[in-house]
């Protein structure tokens, strides 16, 4: 080593050494992020740096949307108006019924001394862009910690649950869709009252009802709503519809495929529900001995 001639030009460390340094740095970051979640502040700072770029990148799409809104045909508008008027009539009738039911319900609940259901506030957010990452199903919305969003808030659209806020930046938030692999929603079958866990498969537009017994009362076309036992999703939001059931006796459980009701792929605006869910106290240890109680507890943890 001592006999090598001095270099003519000073170029700093060799590429290999630099590669080693930066790779090691990346690996440290990976380990720190995957294992310990230490880097959230660094992530927040970087998110603020690229925020303007993200807005600029999202601008053409929103501009195109605005332009197509502007050039909507007169007849289309009239037809839509008429349809909407009809819808309002129908909705008004329903709303009046609902008012009656609500007061009745409130009365009954007070009688039962049950916990009042808290009316949730919600924020309208615009979807900036959908998952660019082929590995996960996520969207980024244009509201963040500045608009009092927090992780865990459910995200819905006009027809059903879309997902859940999983990461909040100052001005943006990341929503994991219900179709993301490993995302769980505790649901209730409206027709049969069967409780179960709806899991995302990572495939667009496909959900799977987990741990459904072979003889369980599930039919094609059944509607699934959130059961609210996880303390994340408020109860009663429509989530999915059963599209196929495969009862193979060789398997432990039936394979129940579902389709999300919320338009998980095509949307421009979503609602973030500021769900003030109060988690009931843990049951006494005796209750955990029952096998049913343990299963429910496991399902609620993942959501």
């Amino acid at each position: 080593m001592e006999h090598t001639p001095p270099p003519f030009f000073k170029t700093g460390a060799s590429p290999l050494v630099r590669l080693m340094i930066f790779s090691a740095l990346s690996l440290v970051l990976l380990a720190a992020d995957a294992g310990y979640k230490y880097l959230e502040t660094l992530r927040q700072v970087a998110a603020v740096i690229i925020f303007p770029l993200q807005r600029i990148a999202a601008a053409p799409a929103s501009l195109a949307r605005g332009a197509s809104d502007f050039f909507t045909a007169h007849s289309a508008l009239r037809a839509e108006n008429a349809q909407l008027r009809l819808d309002i009539m129908a909705a008004a009738a329903k709303a009046q019924q609902a008012k009656g039911l609500e007061s009745e319900n409130m009365h009954l609940r007070t009688l039962l001394e049950a916990r009042q259901r808290i009316e949730d506030r919600s924020t309208l957010a615009e979807v900036l862009y959908a998952a660019r990452d082929p590995f996960s199903r996520r969207i980024v919305i244009d509201k963040g910690a500045q608009h009092e969003l927090r992780t865990g808030y459910p995200v819905i659209d006009g027809s059903g649950v879309v997902g859940q806020v999983t990461r909040v930046y100052p001005l943006l938030a990341e929503v994991t869709l219900i179709t993301d692999k490993g995302h769980l929603v505790p649901v209730l079958n409206v027709r049969s009252g069967l409780r179960s866990v709806l899991a995302g498969t990572g495939v667009q537009g496909a959900l799977e009802l987990q741990f459904t017994a072979l003889n369980a009362d599930v039919q094609k076309g059944d509607q699934l709503v959130t059961s609210g036992i996880d303390g994340v999703y408020p109860a009663g939001l429509p989530v999915a519809e059963v599209v196929a059931i495969d009862r193979n006796p060789a398997q432990m459980f039936a394979k129940v495929l579902c389709r999300p009701l919320g338009s998980v792929t095509n949307y421009t605006r979503v609602f973030v529900v500021h769900a003030a869910v109060v988690i009931p106290p843990r049951p006494e240890p005796e209750a955990e001995k029952a096998p049913r109680g343990r299963k429910a507890a496991r399902g609620s943890k993942g959501g």
């Binding site: 970051l29 660019r132 590995f135 996960s136 792929t265």
Partner: protein
């Protein structure tokens, strides 16, 4: 520089401006941040990797590992993915570009593109391995399509990025 293709004349180019390099990298980041969805996501090449590779091959003295690494971090934040996966991939791609730049520069466009596609695939494979290790599913062969399209875009990209370096002839001056 030895001209491997005597039929095609070799130009003497003006030096690349640092400002232009930065601008193209920001533009690539913008292209990556566009709201790609559906099949657009599959055919989208990683523009940042592509432009980074171009500058690593063309101007290895002006661009280095630090820039590649920071760009990787920004991509990680934008994607909401694990911190460091793009940083690692871009660092390795930058290394490959810097090491191979003397070789790749001497080829014409088509063989250059053939050099670039494996490097972009390497970028994809590193990200894929990290994601598989983190517990994701294999997304399918379509995942690699973007890199092939990146290779197809290479001639157009190098034409565009070389434009400001071409000498401007002003017949009145001579």
């Amino acid at each position: 520089m030895i001209n491997l293709y005597p039929g095609t004349p070799q130009e003497i180019l003006r030096p690349a401006k640092t400002g232009f390099i930065v601008a193209t990298l920001v533009a690539a980041l913008l292209l990556n941040l566009l709201p790609w969805a559906g099949w657009g996501l599959w055919v989208r090449p990683d523009f940042v990797a592509l432009v980074l590779l171009y500058w690593c091959i063309d101007q290895p003295r002006k661009i280095g590992f630090g820039i590649a690494w920071v760009l990787g971090l920004l991509m990680d934040v934008a994607d909401g993915s694990l911190f460091g996966q793009h940083a690692l991939a871009y660092t390795i791609v930058a290394y490959a570009g810097i090491v191979l730049h003397r070789r790749v520069q001497r080829f014409s466009m088509t063989p250059q593109a053939l050099h670039v596609v494996p490097l972009l695939l390497l970028n994809d494979i590193i990200v894929l391995l990290i994601r598989l290790a983190a517990g994701s599913d294999y997304p399918g062969y379509w995942y690699f399509l973007g890199s092939v399209i990146g290779g197809l875009l290479w001639p157009a990209l190098s034409f565009l990025l070389k434009l400001p370096q071409r000498p401007r002839f002003d017949p009145d001056q001579i």
